[in-house]
Symmetry: C2
Amino acid sequence: MSKNKIRAEIVEKLRKLGEQLEKEIQKNKDPEISMPIRTLSNAYFDDNSKLIRLGDKVQTRNFFNVGQARKFMQTALIAAQIKELLEQDKPSISTRQLYYILKRTIDGLKENTFEEQSESDPIIEDLEVSIDALREDLGLEPTPDGVFSGPIKYTDLKTGDEIDCSKMGTAGAAIPANTEPGVVKFGKCTAKYVLVVEKFAVWSILNQLKYWKTNNCIIITGKGQAGRSTRRLVARLNKELKLPVYVFADFDPYGYYIYSVYKQGSINLAFFSEKAGCPEAKYIGLKHDDVKQFKIPKSNFIRLTDQDLKRLKEIKNYEWFKKKEWQEEIKKATDFGYKIESDALVSKTIEFMADTYLPKVIKDKDWLD
Amino acid sequence: MSKNKIRAEIVEKLRKLGEQLEKEIQKNKDPEISMPIRTLSNAYFDDNSKLIRLGDKVQTRNFFNVGQARKFMQTALIAAQIKELLEQDKPSISTRQLYYILKRTIDGLKENTFEEQSESDPIIEDLEVSIDALREDLGLEPTPDGVFSGPIKYTDLKTGDEIDCSKMGTAGAAIPANTEPGVVKFGKCTAKYVLVVEKFAVWSILNQLKYWKTNNCIIITGKGQAGRSTRRLVARLNKELKLPVYVFADFDPYGYYIYSVYKQGSINLAFFSEKAGCPEAKYIGLKHDDVKQFKIPKSNFIRLTDQDLKRLKEIKNYEWFKKKEWQEEIKKATDFGYKIESDALVSKTIEFMADTYLPKVIKDKDWLD
């Protein structure tokens, strides 16, 4: 779907929302906006799709309700502003910038439209959910923080530039703030899989060694906990180009969790998770059994802290970690008493992860699902 | 200078260091490494170069000194390891990865070479200073965090890729971890100046509007407080390509400080600051007088916190802010009692900063020096 068509569809949805409100007002009815509830109580792990999803509980927001009138006004303001920006094909902005555009003292009152960004952000999320569109498609973009490289080209539909991700030097290609189909159009891709790497410094070694070339894959890092645009990029490579996704993270509860966010998303962004998850993603390491198999030296072990142990316990109870293999892994990690960073593999040789570890675990399907 | 030549020079310096130690040992002398002191007491603002520099106080580190023996051993280990990695032309690694490579239990002792990364990091800095080379040239690279675009090409000497920064889409070109001459070789550049933008979301609007094309410049963001590779890139564009540098930041003490770090560096990285500063950089805003001149609406003002006021006081006392124009600016900001984010300019129009504000302040030389 073209950039303009996506935009036109969203403008139409927003127009309909406004039209509905207008009709209600003209009929002297109480104008009402209804939308799925975004609270944790309405988020769940869907065992069929293996994704964290939003349930079907709905809330309504009315103008003639003292507790809801301010939020109603704010929702209408945000919807109208977004519609205007999209119609005029303005540059995308941040949610903070949208807040600045809309914050003003209401004529004739001493009240401001918004006092803090913490008032506008949840309403943007409400709107995303109610018209079933990601904020990126509404022209609201986060700060991205990842890089990738490999045998794939994409066209940036906003600028028309074609980016060849196999020619981006040691820096790699910066992941755009918006990786939706309206901006990123995949071109030729000969990669066979996507390797998601938790840490930049690990990704950088793989990139310098051109692991992506030798192994015909795309290597991506979100620099720790991944942002929206990195997650959506990985999900689109998975869904649209049918590339398997392997996640390479630290052997610690945070590594497990980062993997799970790429795979099935997170509870507090359940609406986004439906669209950004990769339910088939595999966790290729570091895993408990790698310690013995690859003789990781004891000097690289770091003792688990109380915080780590607490986090392991929490993760063990997440529904999406209830599979037998994960319960065993978490138990082994807890009993082991140490964590190990993926960086530590350099203590074998700098090339070890690229030449031995990664090709072997991927070939042997030595992963957790 | 070619990548290989730079590497060969550093290997030679490290070889000489080792040779000197070997000679002392063979003469039954106490082996000794001397290096400039890196503590704050030896850092100063040099009014001639307008840079924060390291003074000439020197320390020695001896093997036959109970208090220094461990550090001496660690210094020798790090120097030897770096020499080996450079000689073998290995991929660059992070300082954490170097720590993992070197951490081990010493044969015959119960002691480890290093216990924590906090032991190896300062020694890497010592080594940088003592052989007068940046860690990037030693093959130790930080995680970069910036993007840039504009009419400039560069060749990545590690991969041979030529990057055209005018064709990098909405993402811009990722700033490499290492922007030293051994990696980044500037090619054709028709830009007339460098615009450093504090915030990604502001940079993103300018990039989407192709401000760099209309105004024939390079736009760079370090996403807040800039990292090493962003600072060095800006400094090299300034020194080698003779491009003036303009910094566009928030109207608050952090905006002022970010500017000052690009300009004259910071006290705690004085050795790096000598090489990464741009003493001619100008602060183009937001400034106190912009509020009136550009009629920034009151709804965008944010009251200064106690923390902000404290920081303003500190900054006022920094030697490099002692110029009359800066003392006045800081006084006005303090009296004004509010701060304003650069983002707030979108409340005029989204294009306002690109079409009006920036071209005007640059044309009028309406800046602080």
